[in-house]
Symmetry: C2
Subunit: 139 residues, 2 copies
Amino acid sequence: MTEHAKQSLPHRRTRHDHSTELAEDYVEAIAEISSRDRNCRIVDLAKYFGVSHVTVNRMVGRLQNEGLVSTEPYKPVRLTAKGSRLANRCRERHEIVYQFLLAIGVDPQAAAIDAEGIEHHVSPETLKCFVRQTKAKQC
Amino acid sequence: MTEHAKQSLPHRRTRHDHSTELAEDYVEAIAEISSRDRNCRIVDLAKYFGVSHVTVNRMVGRLQNEGLVSTEPYKPVRLTAKGSRLANRCRERHEIVYQFLLAIGVDPQAAAIDAEGIEHHVSPETLKCFVRQTKAKQC
DNA sequence: ATTAAATTGTAGTCGAGGCTACAATTCTGT
DNA sequence: ACAGAATTGTAGCCTCGACTACAATTTAAT
């Protein structure tokens, strides 16, 4: 009975995470594309994620509401300071997870895919452990 | 350019995973509740996940379509052979991830939460590496 | 046995994320 | 400069997972 309460919390958390995952993926992608192509357009994101430009459009609007992105009609998308900070945190976290998977012997291709899925579900504490492990392996 | 194709694949995969995650959570929960209470009812699942019984109801219908579950109106929910196999695989995988997190030094509470989020995104290969690591730590 | 409570089912709504089709704007090449 | 291509925006639809409100069935208690 009381177990139900304990159980339902993680599950709720998992679902709520889904709503932030996309935002994180977007700022990460915007940062990457911007640094590569000088600016980031809707089409670039659409190709990157393999979705229609319409989907990207609405998502960018949402990111703008959340203050992560700034853009004007028919103009490229830029990250705000807040968005950049989030993107950096995400990139670092992504890299940590990826390097960690490599360090424990996962092959690069599988590591790339799994890191993509795992990164959003790693707490700061677990992340620290990943770092420690990766360092230990490198000695 | 060709990078776009490479990039979009993992992201597509991530999204598709979401649709299977819930199914996996459900069979896991049904297995757990069934073994504890002798049978598993809609209400139990609703409490377990902290959602309404209606949500559970439709989800159970979907699981039935997928042949993972068998049930009749106003009757408890039972796993099919296929559903049981999936539940077992999920439980094992969950346990591996959880024990692995403990082994690398994550505290039990954080490990429980993170395992919940991570388990669905771990490829068989990465899982093997987790097992190997956990064993290594125990020596 | 009948009523009250618990459980399950159904109808209808909502937001998120996806799409197509079409309109508007900006960019480009000649 | 201007037509055609590329890009972006808008309208409207779909599916899925969630909900409330209400109807139906089963279980339990007196």
